[in-house]
Amino acid sequence: MADIALDRSAEVAAPPRATALERFQHHWTALALSFPALFLMVLLLIGPVVTVLIMSFTDYQLGASTVAFIGLQNYRDLFADRVFWTSLGNTLKYVAIVVPASVALGLGIALLIESGGGLRTFYRAVFFIPVMATLIAMAISWEYMLHPQFGLINLLLKAVGLAPHAWLTDPALALPTLAAIGIWQLFGFNMVLFLAGLVSIPRHLYDAAALDGAQSAWSRFWLVTWPMLGPVTMFVVIISAIRSFQVFDTVHVLTKGGPNKASEVLLYTMYSEGFEFFRSGLAAAVAVIFLVFVLTLTVIKARLIEKKVHYA
């Protein structure tokens, strides 16, 4: 009780020695826990990004004995090179085909699956399989399907009386064919994201829309689904763009950028400069350009996530 007098200096023993150590430990525990991650982040991510930037201003070649800073020369060389522009143009074209198609397909199928009726799980699984399956193995299967003489695609075309094509060796068709494989691989992923978005739309909004006179599925879609899916759609578009920007596997296995650079894409250019010709400086410059595109897209995505968080 308060009325008990206490001689504090006499009564309170000095804190035990261990406490000083404990205080010290407490202060450093958090740093110790995050140190391995921090160290590896610097070594394996931040360091290399800085290096790639610096390297893009040098004439470094693997195995060469000298290195010199050459300023913007690598970039000047690139911009003067027709192949680079072809490569960038092809990449953008690829993105421009894959993104709208895979987003539209993903959304359409998600809507069909969610519109009621059975077999939801079945359909969802089927459309998701291409996302999971090793793309390289599937590219080999596609290659055989696209075989000019014995491929299933041309056989089917012939069966219905259409002309066969040399899908991967015709310069006009190579890139669109790769894009088609890209769409096939990506739309299931988009579908899953849309399904998640659809599930999170509150059911009572549809009830309200029905009471407000939106009788057809079509009008309910425009009144409720589409606006509610807005943020998800933006998000899916950006993710698809980032993913298709990174197209490489199918190009490397099926066309090697050919025929006549018709399917040369940015990562493939970087790969061949860096790891076939070992012009590391030039490859670094391509990597920087690639990085700028992907960073821009990712920053937009991050902004979207922030916005979504603020909405919630």
Partner: protein, 270 residues
């Protein structure tokens, strides 16, 4: 009527989607004489399955590829978790100087596409002399900033009381990570694990750069090498090899498809 239409459309799309798989498996059962045909034949007249699959295993060390894939993906995931979980815990639940900075670095690193830093990593590994080894395949991915971010977000939802209770019970901070946070975060860790394993099992770009020797090849690299050696001559064993390479993930997916889809969607949305 609408239901019928819905199923009709979806079934057609499903058939188209599965076409490459069906054709791959069908071809893997055919003898060479039936591969090069000018007509569509789904089921071979002469079943050649045993021969093709035996040939696939004989012509390339497929089991070795699968084993390499398993070793590499498992190592990557275990190390990622070992490194990311303590950091995620510190970022989510501890107050320390520099926390904002560390988290900002994590957010920045998420932006970096792995392909963009392949050249400097290649050179680093070249100078370290560890190219063309398991280490070269595993090391670049043991730090998953995405994993740190994801687990931090999950840990934020774990009540502080639980952590305080663990402290009162005498569990150390590192002990809290493994004995308290990890068990409560099993769903998130599973989702991240699926994401990580799928990504690295299927990765082609980095193994292509880092490896030279066939005995170390991961499944995608192995099947690509098989095809470079075989293409045009005989598709039966090649398709058998491709089927074998995709089988582990696809079978795992079919067995636990809800977890897979949730994992990929969950990690995709963050």
């Amino acid at each position: 009527m609408t239901a019928f239409l819905r199923h009709a459309v979806l079934l057609v799309l499903a058939a188209v989607t599965l076409l490459p798989f069906a054709w791959m498996i069908s071809t893997s059962l055919k003898p060479r004489s039936e591969v090069f045909l000018s007509e569509i034949r789904w089921w071979p007249e002469k079943l050649h399955a045993v021969e093709n699959y035996t040939a696939a295993f004989a012509k390339a060390p497929l089991l070795q590829f699968l084993l390499n894939g398993a070793i590499v993906t498992a190592s990557i995931f275990v190390l990622q978790a070992l490194i990311a979980l303590p950091a995620a815990y510190a970022l989510a639940k501890l107050r320390f100087h520099g926390r904002q900075t560390v988290f900002a670095l994590v957010l920045f690193c998420i932006l970096i596409p792995p392909q963009a830093i392949a050249v400097p990593l290649f050179l680093l590994f070249h100078h370290l002399g560890i190219l063309d080894s398991y280490a070269a395949l595993i090391l670049p991915f043991i730090i998953s900033v995405f994993g740190i971010f994801l687990m931090r977000q999950f840990f934020l939802t774990v009540p502080d009381d639980l952590i305080d209770a663990a402290r009162m019970d005498g569990i150390s901070e590192l002990g809290i990570v493994w004995r308290v946070m990890l068990p409560t975060a099993i769903p998130a860790v599973t989702a991240f694990g699926i994401f990580s394993v799928v990504a690295h099992w299927n990765d082609y770009f980095w193994p292509l750069i880092a490896l030279n020797s066939e005995p170390l090849f991961t499944p995608p690299l192995g099947v690509a090498a098989f095809r470079n050696a075989e293409a045009g001559t005989d598709y039966g064993p090649l398709m058998a090899a491709a089927t074998i390479i995709i089988a582990p993930l696809v079978v795992a997916f079919l067995l636990a498809q809800r977890r897979f889809i949730e994992g990929i969607a969950f990690t995709g949305l963050k």
